[in-house]
C-alpha cells in the first residue's frame, strides 16, 4: 500500500496559467479567422488540429492532468477514446465520412 501523499506539482505559477490562456486565446482568434479568410484545402485540417490542441492544453494544464498520476489520465482518456471509437464507427455506418 502506498502511503504517499498526492503531491500538487506546482510546475505552473499563476503567470504560467495566464500564458496558457493567452495561447488559447490566440488559437481561438485563428479559428475564428477561418470564417473570414479562405484557408482552401487547409480549412478542415487546421480547424481540427486547433480544436484538438486547445482541448489537450486545457486538459493537460488547466485540469493538471499532465502533472498528476497517470491513473487519472487512464480513466479520462479511456472514456474519450471509447467515445471517439463508437461514435466515429456509428457515423461511418451512416456513410457520414464519404463525400
Amino acid at each position: 500500500m502506498s502511503e504517499t501523499t498526492e503531491h500538487h506539482d506546482h510546475g505552473m505559477s499563476d503567470a504560467g496559467y495566464i500564458k496558457i490562456a493567452l495561447i488559447l486565446a490566440a488559437i481561438t482568434a485563428l479559428e475564428v479567422s477561418t470564417y473570414y479568410v479562405d484557408f482552401g484545402p487547409l480549412f478542415m485540417p487546421s480547424l481540427m488540429i486547433m480544436m484538438i490542441v486547445k482541448f489537450v492544453m486545457v486538459v493537460s494544464y488547466f485540469m493538471h492532468l499532465k502533472f498528476d498520476s497517470k491513473i487519472f489520465s487512464f480513466l479520462f482518456y479511456t472514456g474519450l477514446a471509447l467515445a471517439l471509437f463508437v461514435y466515429i464507427v456509428a457515423l461511418a455506418t451512416f456513410k457520414f465520412f464519404i463525400a
Binding site: V89, T93, F94
Partner: protein, 661 residues
C-alpha cells in the same frame, strides 16, 4: 451519529449526539427496526436490500413470462390480447434486465466486494445508499405504468419510431424512459463508487493481481457501466424529447433515420449483456475452485479474458443490426469482431474445466449450479457464434432462435451463476446453510425446466416462428405431430417446471430462516477473504484489517506446504483465524454514519420524473426536493471517517471522532 465500535472492550458503544444540518435536520439516530434499514449506509445491509428488491422483480418478471407462455401454449390463445402481449414481453425483458439481473449482481457486489478486498465499506457509503433508493424509485416509476394507462409496449429495446408518439401513444413508453433513466443514474453512481473502492481501498498487500476473480469481474463490469450508460441516456433523452416536447429525432418524414436509435441503444446494449454475465462468471470462479478443492486454473488468463471481453464488448454492437440495412462493409466488420469475442469467453470455459479436472469434486448445490452454468452457457455461446455469421443471422434474427440463445446465456448462464452464489454465500450473509435437499430439487427442476422451455425455441426459430408474436394458429403451426404447436406446448410446460424450481428456492429460504441451524464459520473450506469474518460479519467487517500476502489469502492462512510431502496441510481452522483476529482487534474503528439524504434525494428524483408526464408544477416540486436534499447532503459533515482500513498506528494513538452537539 457516529457509533464508536470498541471490539474487545467492555464499555458500551459511545453514542454521540447528532449535529444539526442547516439548523433544522438531525441525522438519524435510530439503530433498530425499519429505520435502521431505510437510512443505513452499511454496504452489507444495502446489499441485502438490493437482493430482496431484485428477487421481488425476478418473481414479477417470471410471472410476466408465465403469462406469455400460457398465451402461446395452445393455438388461438385467449389469455392476453395483442396489446397486452406487447406490454408483457416488453416488461418481462425490461424487468429481468434492469430490475432483477443488474440489482442482483449489485447485491453480490455490494455485500462481497468490500469483504473480498479487506475493506470496511465502499468508498462513498451515502452514494451507495442513493444508488439503492434510486433503483427502487426507478422500479416503482417503471411499474406504475401498469396502473396508469398501460405499460410500455415497444419491446425491451424500444425501437423508434415505433416507440414514438404516433405508434405508442399511451404513457407506457414515457414511464419506461423515466424508470430506466433513474435506474441508469443509480448504476452510474454505483459504478463510480465501486471502481474507486477497488482502486483505493484494498487491504495492505493486495495488489490487483491478488484480488479474487469475483472482484475483478465486478471491476470490469463497473467500467462497462460507466462508459456505456451515458449512451443509452442520450437515446432515452432523444426519445423523451420527441414524445413529450415534439422533437423530430425519429420522425422519418422530417428526414430522421431510425438506425440512430438502434446504434445508440446497442452501443449501450451490447456492453450491457457483458454487464449481466460477468458477475456470474466471477461467482463461479470462486465456487468451482472451492468445491473442486483446487486453485482456479490460469488466474491471469481468467482475469485478462474478462478484461478483454469488456473492451471488445464495445466493438460488436451492430451485430444486433445485421438485418437493418447497414450494408456489407459494416456487417462484415462487426461479424468478425463478434467472432473474436468468442475467444476470451472460450478461454474462461477452458480454465473452469481445467480447474475441475483432477479435483476432488464436492457436489453441493452451489457447485451443481456452477457446473450447470459452464454447460448451459456453452450451449448459449455456441448459438451466439452462429449469430456472428451474418448470413445465417439474417434468418435467425427476430426469430425464436435468438430468444433461445439469450435465454441459454442469461438463464443457464447468469441466473445459474447467481443461484450458485446464493447457496455458496448464504451461510456467510445469514449464518445458516440453505437446505441441500431442497437445493437439489431447486437445481434439477430449474435445469429440466430451463432446457424444456428454451431448447425447443432453437427449433421454433429455425422453422421461422418470429419473436413477439402474440398468437399462433393450427394452420401456421405446420404439419405433423412435432410441429410448431407441439414445441410451443413443450416450452410452456417447461416454463412452469422452471417456475416450480424457483419456488423451491423460495421455500428453501423460508425453511432455512425458520428451521435452519447455525452454520459453521467456514463450511466450504473456502479460499478468499470474505470468509475471514463472522457469519454474518460484524458491522465493521474485520476486527483487524488483514495484511495480504497471497492470492487466495484465506486459504493460505489455513494451509501451509508440507515440505516433506509437497502437499498442503491444514494448520488452522476458520474458527482459529477468527479468534486470532478478535484477540488482535483494532481498538477504535469508525464507521460511516446513517443519513436521511440518500432516500430523500431518490424520492425527489422520482417526483421530478413524474413531472415530465404530469406537468411542470410536479417537476418543480421534485426539483425542490432534489435541491434541498443535495444541499443537506453536502453540508452534512462526514463525522466518521468514511473508510478506515488502516491498521492502528504504531504509537497506539487512534483517530478520535470529534464530539458534537
Amino acid at each position: 451519529m457516529a457509533i464508536i465500535e470498541r471490539p474487545g472492550s467492555d464499555t458500551a458503544p459511545a453514542v454521540v449526539t447528532p449535529s444539526q444540518t442547516m439548523g433544522a435536520v438531525k441525522r438519524p439516530v435510530e439503530t433498530k427496526g425499519w429505520k435502521e434499514w431505510l437510512f443505513t449506509v452499511d454496504h452489507k445491509k444495502i446489499g441485502i436490500m438490493y437482493g430482496v428488491v431484485a428477487m421481488f422483480f425476478f418473481v414479477v418478471g417470471g410471472i410476466e413470462a408465465l403469462l406469455i407462455r400460457l398465451q402461446l401454449a395452445a393455438p388461438n390463445g385467449t389469455i392476453l390480447s395483442a396489446d397486452q402481449y406487447n406490454q408483457m414481453f416488453t416488461m418481462h425483458g425490461t424487468t429481468m434486465v434492469f430490475l432483477f439481473a443488474m440489482p442482483m449482481a449489485g447485491a453480490f457486489a455490494n455485500y462481497f466486494l468490500p469483504l473480498q478486498i479487506g475493506a470496511r465499506d465502499v468508498a462513498f457509503p451515502r452514494l451507495n445508499a442513493l444508488s439503492l433508493w434510486l433503483l427502487v424509485a426507478g422500479g416503482i416509476v417503471l411499474n406504475l405504468s401498469w396502473f396508469l394507462g398501460g405499460a410500455a409496449d415497444g419491446g425491451w429495446f424500444m425501437y423508434a419510431p415505433n416507440s414514438g408518439p404516433v405508434f405508442s401513444p399511451s404513457n407506457g413508453v414515457d414511464y419506461w424512459i423515466l424508470g430506466l433513466q433513474i435506474a441508469g443514474v443509480a448504476s452510474l453512481i454505483g459504478s463510480i463508487n465501486l471502481i474507486v473502492t477497488v482502486l483505493n481501498m484494498r487491504a495492505p498487500g493486495m495488489s490487483l493481481m491478488k484480488m479474487p476473480v469475483f472482484t475483478w469481474m465486478i471491476l470490469v463490469v463497473q467500467f462497462l457501466l460507466v462508459f456505456s450508460l451515458p449512451v443509452i441516456t442520450v437515446a432515452l433523452v432523444l426519445l423523451m424529447f420527441q414524445r413529450s416536447y415534439g422533437a423530430t429525432f425519429f420522425d422519418v418524414s422530417q428526414g430522421a433515420d431510425p438506425l440512430l436509435w438502434q446504434h445508440l441503444f446497442w452501443i449501450f446494449g451490447h456492453p450491457e449483456v457483458y454487464v449481466l454475465i460477468l458477475p456470474a462468471f466471477g461467482i463461479i470462479s470462486e465456487v468451482l475452485p472451492t468445491f473442486a478443492r483446487k486453485p482456479l486454473f490460469g488466474y491471469p488468463f481468467v482475469v485478462f479474458s474478462g478484461a478483454s471481453i469488456g473492451l471488445v464488448g464495445f466493438g460488436v454492437w451492430a451485430h444486433h443490426m445485421f438485418a437493418a440495412g447497414l450494408g456489407p462493409v459494416s456487417v462484415a466488420v462487426f461479424s468478425i469482431a463478434t467472432m473474436a469475442i468468442a475467444i476470451p469467453t472460450g478461454v474462461k470455459i477452458f480454465n473452469w474445466l481445467l480447474t475441475m479436472w483432477g479435483g476432488k469434486i464436492w457436489y453441493t448445490t452451489a457447485m451443481k449450479f456452477a457446473i450447470g452454468l459452464v454447460i448451459l452457457f456453452t450451449v448459449g455461446g455456441l448459438s451466439g457464434v452462429t449469430h456472428s455469421v451474418a448470413p445465417s443471422d439474417t434468418q435467425q434474427t427476430d426469430t425464436y432462435y435468438i430468444v433461445a440463445h439469450f435465454h441459454y446465456v442469461l438463464f443457464g448462464g447468469m441466473v445459474f451463476g447467481l443461484f450458485s452464489g446464493f447457496y455458496y454465500w448464504w451461510p456467510k450473509v445469514f449464518g445458516k446453510l440453505l437446505n441441500e435437499k431442497l437445493g437439489s430439487w431447486n437445481f434439477w427442476l430449474m435445469v429440466i425446466g430451463m432446457n424444456l422451455t428454451f431448447g425447443p425455441m432453437h427449433i421454433l426459430g429455425l422453422q421461422g416462428q418470429p419473436r413477439r408474436m402474440y398468437i399462433w394458429t393450427e394452420a401456421r403451426a405446420g404439419e405433423g405431430f412435432f410441429n410448431l404447436g407441439f414445441w410451443n406446448l413443450v416450452a410452456s410446460i417447461g416454463s412452469f417446471i422452471l417456475a416450480a424450481g424457483v419456488l423451491f428456492f423460495l421455500i428453501n429460504v423460508v425453511y432455512t430462516a425458520r428451521k435452519g441451524k447455525q452454520a459453521p464459520l467456514d463450511p466450504w473450506d473456502a479460499r478468499t477473504l470474505e470468509w475471514l469474518t463472522t457469519s454474518p460479519p460484524k458491522p465493521h467487517n474485520f476486527d483487524r484489517i488483514p495484511v495480504v500476502h497471497h492470492l487466495d489469502e484465506y486459504f493460505h492462512r489455513k494451509y501451509e506446504e508440507d515440505t516433506a510431502t509437497h502437499t498442503m496441510k491444514k494448520v488452522a481452522e476458520g474458527e482459529d483465524l477468527i479468534r486470532a483476529e478478535e484477540e488482535a482487534a483494532d481498538s477504535d474503528i469508525h464507521l460511516p454514519s446513517a443519513s436521511y439524504w440518500p432516500i430523500v434525494l431518490a424520492f425527489g428524483v422520482g417526483v421530478l420524473c413524474m413531472g415530465v408526464i404530469y406537468g411542470v408544477p410536479i417537476m418543480v416540486l421534485g426539483a425542490a426536493i432534489v435541491l434541498f436534499a443535495s444541499y443537506g447532503w453536502v453540508l452534512e459533515p462526514s463525522v466518521a471517517e468514511p473508510i478506515d482500513f488502516e491498521p492502528p498506528s504504531a504509537d497506539g494513538s487512534t483517530k478520535e471522532i470529534a464530539p458534537l452537539g
